[in-house]
Symmetry: C2
Subunit: 429 residues, 2 copies
C-alpha cells in the first residue's frame, strides 16, 4: 500500500478500476497500515515479509495474477472459507479472497442492499461499485456460497455486476443429508473448475493441491500454538495480518514465510522474550471474520496493553483448523476427504453448532487466554444470535466474556474503548 | 377475544399461563379487533363465523385442543408453512400455527435475542416468556424449521424453553439435492409423528389427510379468485383474517366456513355489490407473513380508502397456492407428491427465487391490482433484500410498487400513512 517504484496505474486502468477512487483508497490504507502496524514495538523481523506483501497487495500480487492469467491460468475470487482452494489449485488455478474489510462507496452499495446489511457485505458491494478492487476485476470466476441470508440473497444481485458468478449451495446441518449436499456441490464445483481451466483433475493433481493447502494450514497452526507462550511472541494484530494474507498470497511462498517467522518466534520464546511484558492480559477473539483492512477492534485491544492470543474466526483458527487426509486412490475418494475436513468447520450457519463452544474453550485453555471477546458485526444474525448463548455458557464456565457489536466505521471507537478497557481491567484482576 | 359466558381461567391456569399478562393481552386484543374489524362497512355475513373464531381463539378453540389431547390426540405447534399439516393429520393429530403477531414481553425477549431481530421472532419469544400463548403450552411438539438465519438460530434457544422441540432442516435451492433434502426431512418427520402419536401412517390415512388439506387450500383459492371482482366483495382485512384463521381452526370446519362465505360473495358479485365503491384503488400486498394480530399495514391501507385484493405471503397465496396430487399407491409415493407441492413455495429463503416475481405479476393481473405494496419486517434479510430487486423489476414492467419496512410497534404509523397515502394517490391517477 505504500508508494512503490513501479507504476501500476496502467495495470489498474486495464482492469477497469476507478483510478481516482483507487488512489484515494490506497492513500488512506497506507496511512492506516503505518499507524496500526508500523508503530508496534518489538516486532519479529519476519513480519517484514508481510509488510511487503501488504504494501504490494494491489500492486505486485495483482501483477502476478495478471501474469498467471496471461500464461493461461484461471483466477477464482471467493468470499468464504468453505470454497475449497484444493480444487482450484488442482486445475492450475489461483484462488484469492476478495476485498470486504472497509467501508467504500457505501451510498452506492445501499442502493442495492438494505441499510441493515452487515458491513462485510456492504463492503463487497462498495469495493465493486467504487471500482477499487483489483482482485474482483482480475477474477475469471467469482464464487459465492449460501451461508448466511445476507450473502445468499446479496449474491443474486452481485451476480449481475461481475463477469462470471458461480453460486455454491451450503448445508445448514451436519446431518448425512447435509454432508451429501456439500459433496454434491464440491463435485459440481470440480466440474466447473475443469471446464473453466480446460484441465481435468487427477488423483495426482488433487493430492498435490491438497498437500499444498495442508502445508499452508500446518504453518498457521504452528504459528497459533506458539502464541500460547507468555510473553506473547507476536502481537494479535500481526498474527491476524498473517491470517488475512493467507487468502491473498501464493500458498507455497506464504507457507515458507510463516514457517520462517515461526522459527524466529521459537527462538524468542526460548530466549524468554516477546512483544509484550509477561503477565499482559491475554484475550481470545471469537466471532465474525475480520477481513483486511478491518483491524479496528484488535488495534483497540492491543492499544490498551492487552494482547490477543488467538482468533476463533473464519480468518483465523475456525477457517484453518484441521487437515485433509490425502490417502485415497480416486478423485472421488480425495473429495470425500475434503468434504470431511470442511464439514468440521463450526460456522454459525450450522444448527446446532455446539462444537464451536468446545473449540472456544479449547483455545482459551491452549492459548492461556484470560477472557474472550465475542466479536459481532451489526446485523450478522448467525454470529450475534449464537454469541448471546456462548457468552452465557463461557461465563458459566468461569471464562470472562465480552460481547461487542460493531461495524467498519470509527463512530463507536470511544464507546468500544471504554467497554474493552473495563473488560481488560476485569480479567487482569 | 371478547368476554364470553364460559370462564376459561381454570384452563389457562392448568396450561401454566401468566393470568395477569394474559388477561391484559386479551383485553388489548379485544379492543384492537373491535376497532379494526367491527367498524368495517358492508361486511359479508359469513364473517360472523370468523369473528366468533377470533373471539374464542384463546377460549373454545384451545378447549377443543385440550379435549382432543384428553382423547389421546397430539397437538403440534408450528411457525412456518413448510411444515406439512398432512403428516400431522394422517396420525390423527392437530396442527396449529403459533402466536407471533404482536409485541409482548419484548424486554424479556431481548435478553435472549439480539435487539436487531425481526418482530416475528421477538414476538414468538415474548409470547412464550410472557406466558400468554395457550397454543405453545398446549402443544405436545413444537416444530421449527431452518428457513431464515433468525429463526434457525433462535430455535436453538427456543428449544430450551419448551417441552419438546423438533428442528426440520430446509433446502436453500430448488436443486435435485435440495429436493432430496426436503424429502428426507419429511420422511423423518413422518417417523417422528408416528412415534409421537403411536399411529402408523398408511396410504389411506395420508391420502385422506392430503385431501382434507387440499380442500382447505381449494377454499381459500376460491376466495382469492373472487377478490378479482370490482367492486371488491370482501375487504383485505377480512380476507387476511380468514388466511390467519387457516392456521388455527379445525380444517374441515374452516373449509366449510370459507366455502359458505364464498357462496355469499358470489351472490354479491353477481348483484354488483361490494365492500367498497367500484374503482377503489386496488393493492396487492407482497412480502413477509402477517401473523394475527398483525393488522397494522392492511388497516392503514384500507383506512385510506384503498382495498387490498391479494396477499403474496406465507399467510396468503404463497402458502396456500397449489394442491397435492393424491394419486399414489404407497406412502412414499404420496410423500413424493407432498415434496413436489411444498418445493413450489417461492419463499425468499430460496436462491434464486425468480418464480416469486412471476407469481406477483400473475396476481397483479388476475386480481386487477393497481400497485404492489412490498411489505418487509425490519431485519428480515431475505424479504428485504429480495424486495429491492422486485421493486425495480415491477416498476420496469409498469407496475407501481411501494417498499415499506416496519415492525409491530405503532411508532411509525404516521410516516407509513403518509407514504401509503402518496402511493394510493399515484396509482389512482
Amino acid at each position: 500500500m505504500s508508494e512503490t517504484a513501479v507504476d501500476y496505474h496502467p495495470m489498474w486502468t486495464s482492469l477497469g478500476l476507478n483510478l481516482e477512487n483507487h488512489d484515494a483508497l490506497l492513500s488512506i490504507l497506507g496511512r492506516l497500515y503505518g499507524d496500526t502496524f508500523m508503530t508496534q514495538k518489538n516486532r519479529p523481523e519476519g513480519m517484514s515479509y508481510f509488510d511487503f506483501v501488504m504494501s504490494e497487495v494491489h500492486g505486485l500480487r495483482v501483477k502476478e495474477l495478471m501474469d498467471a492469467k496471461a500464461a493461461g491460468k484461471k483466477v477464482v475470487g471467493t468470499y468464504c472459507t468453505f470454497v475449497p482452494e484444493e480444487l482450484v489449485l488442482a486445475t492450475g488455478g489461483i484462488m484469492v479472497g476478495l476485498c470486504a474489510g472497509a467501508d467504500f462507496a457505501t451510498d452506492e452499495a445501499e442502493k442495492l442492499l438494505p441499510r441493515n446489511t452487515c458491513a462485510l457485505i456492504k463492503s463487497t458491494f462498495g469495493f465493486k461499485l467504487g471500482g477499487v478492487c483489483p482482485y474482483i476485476e482480475a477474477s475469471d470466476l467469482i464464487v459465492g456460497e449460501n451461508t448466511c441470508d445476507g450473502k445468499k440473497k446479496a449474491y443474486e444481485t452481485l451476480a449481475g455486476l461481475v463477469n462470471e458468478f458461480y453460486a455454491m449451495d451450503m448445508p445448514q446441518t451436519k446431518s448425512p443429508q447435509g454432508r451429501a449436499l456439500l459433496k454434491a456441490e464440491y463435485l459440481t464445483f470440480k466440474e466447473k473448475m475443469e471446464l473453466l481451466s480446460g484441465t481435468v483433475i487427477t488423483v495426482e493433481s488433487l493430492r498435490k493441491a491438497t498437500a499444498v493447502v495442508n502445508n499452508k494450514r500446518r504453518a498457521v497452526q504452528r504459528l497459533a500454538r506458539l502464541r500460547a507462550a507468555d510473553p506473547a511472541p507476536v502481537s494479535g494484530l500481526d498474527a491476524l495480518l498473517i491470517n488475512q494474507v493467507f487468502f491473498y498470497d501464493d500458498p507455497e511462498r506464504f507457507t515458507g514465510s510463516v514457517n520462517a517467522i515461526c522459527d524466529e518466534l521459537e527462538k524468542s520464546i526460548s530466549d524468554g522474550t516477546g512483544v509484550t511484558p509477561t503477565g499482559t492480559p491475554r484475550i481470545l477473539i471469537s466471532g465474525c471474520p475480520m477481513a483486511a483492512p478491518n483491524w479496528k477492534v484488535p488495534a483497540t485491544v492491543e492499544g490498551l496493553n492487552a494482547v490477543i492470543v488467538g482468533e476463533e474466526s473464519c480468518i483465523g483458527e475456525r477457517g484453518s483448523r484441521g487437515l485433509t487426509n490425502t490417502e485415497a486412490i480416486t478423485v472421488d475418494g480425495l473429495i470425500d476427504h475434503l468434504v470431511d475436513r470442511y464439514m468440521e468447520i463450526d460456522c454459525a450457519i450450522f444448527t446446532p453448532n455446539g462444537d464451536r463452544l468446545d473449540h472456544i474453550k479449547e483455545m482459551v485453555n491452549e492459548y492461556r487466554a484470560d477472557g474472550v471477546l465475542l466479536y459481532g458485526l451489526n446485523f450478522c444474525t448467525p454470529y450475534l444470535m449464537e454469541g448471546l448463548g456462548i457468552e452465557k455458557q463461557l461465563e458459566a464456565s468461569g471464562i470472562p466474556a465480552l460481547r461487542i457489536e460493531t461495524d467498519y466505521s470509527q463512530e463507536d471507537t470511544g464507546q468500544l474503548t471504554t467497554r474493552i478497557e473495563a473488560f481488560i481491567e476485569r480479567i487482569s484482576g
